[in-house]
């Protein structure tokens, strides 16, 4: 089997490792597979763009930007999620 052809990756796989990809935490082989998938897949490229935009927007947020009620709701949602709710 061609070594190059073995590198196909599914959209679902990419979504699962996108955070590691953006943090530069993937090994070279996997990072290359992700990038080759991005070349082929406009949907995943758009997902990456939105992901980056979200990271950029949240970086600009300070804790005090959050209204108390929203903050409480958010914390409750995280607590429920951690308890499997």
């Amino acid at each position: 089997m061609s070594t190059a052809r073995r590198q196909d990756i599914a959209c679902r796989e990419l979504v699962e490792i996108l955070t590691e990809f953006l943090e530069g935490a993937l090994d070279e082989q996997l990072r290359t597979r992700v990038e080759q998938h991005l070349v082929l897949c406009p949907g995943c490229r758009e997902y990456l763009r939105q992901f980056r935009a979200t990271i950029g927007a949240t970086r600009k947020l300070a804790e005090e930007d959050l209204p108390p009620r929203v903050r409480e709701n958010l914390l409750n949602a995280f607590r429920d999620w951690r308890h499997g709710g």
């Binding site: 089997m1 061609s2 070594t3 190059a4 052809r5 590198q7 530069g24 070279e28 290359t32 990038e35 080759q36 991005l38 070349v39 082929l40 897949c41 406009p42 490229r45 990456l48 980056r52």
Partner: protein, 224 residues
């Protein structure tokens, strides 16, 4: 000639090729590359903890994007399976022959090769009228429509399978997704010949197409 992976042995800066998104933006990292100005190369780019990646001609089909640039890489240059890497690089010039029309033509050329595989298989199967219908398709969209119809019939046949590849490849070409059209065609060749090794051969054909249409072949790429 370098090995498939490892140091190319180059001790002087090496010229290679780099695809970028519109506005000379790195497709994955979002970095805006400094463009050449007033006849001088762009500024050297060096990232902390990350290399600069570029293409040999044979690598081009893997990294298609809207802009193609000639890049100078700082030695030593590391050869990888589908790209080369160096600690620093700078843009030398944009390859103007690689424009939206050439990109579209590349996708169409690849889709037509997938169509031809289906045509051969249909003819061998005695499906002559269907082969003629496929051959007559005047556009990528029509080719996609006809091939899709043929792919739905007798799915176990190789000719139907290849019509399916032809439908997918022509659809991608019509959408302007040339890289995807090329990849589907390379997979169609594997299916047609039942030989995984021909995938790389089809990629080489694609690389040669790009090099010829973009006028890259005449530029020596030292040590690559």
């Amino acid at each position: 000639m370098p090995s498939a992976t490892g140091d190319t042995g180059a001790e002087t800066p090496v010229r290679a090729w780099k695809f970028l998104d519109s506005g000379h933006i790195a497709p994955f990292g979002g970095h805006v590359w400094p463009a050449p100005a007033a006849g001088s190369p762009g500024e050297w780019v060096r990232f902390s903890g990350r290399e600069i990646f570029a293409c040999r001609i044979v690598d081009l089909p893997w990294w298609i994007a809207s802009e193609l640039w000639e890049i100078e890489l700082e030695a030593p240059v590391r050869a990888m399976e589908t790209q080369v890497a160096a600690a620093a690089g700078r843009l030398l010039r944009r390859v103007l022959a690689w424009d939206s029309a050439t990109l579209h033509a590349y996708g169409v050329a690849c889709a037509e090769r997938a169509r031809d595989l289906a045509l051969d298989a249909l003819t061998r199967d005695g499906r002559l009228e269907e082969a003629q219908a496929l051959a007559r398709a005047p556009s990528m969209l029509e080719l996609c429509r006809v091939a899709r119809g043929l792919a739905g019939e007798a799915r176990e046949r190789l000719s139907s399978n290849l019509a399916g590849y032809g439908a997918e490849s022509s659809m991608r070409a019509s959408e302007g997704a040339a890289a995807a059209a090329a990849n589907i065609t390379a997979n169609a060749v594997v299916a047609a010949l039942d030989d995984p090794e021909v995938f790389d051969r089809e990629r080489q054909w694609q690389a040669q197409w790009i090099a010829e249409r973009a006028g890259l072949a005449s530029i020596p790429v030292a040590a690559l």
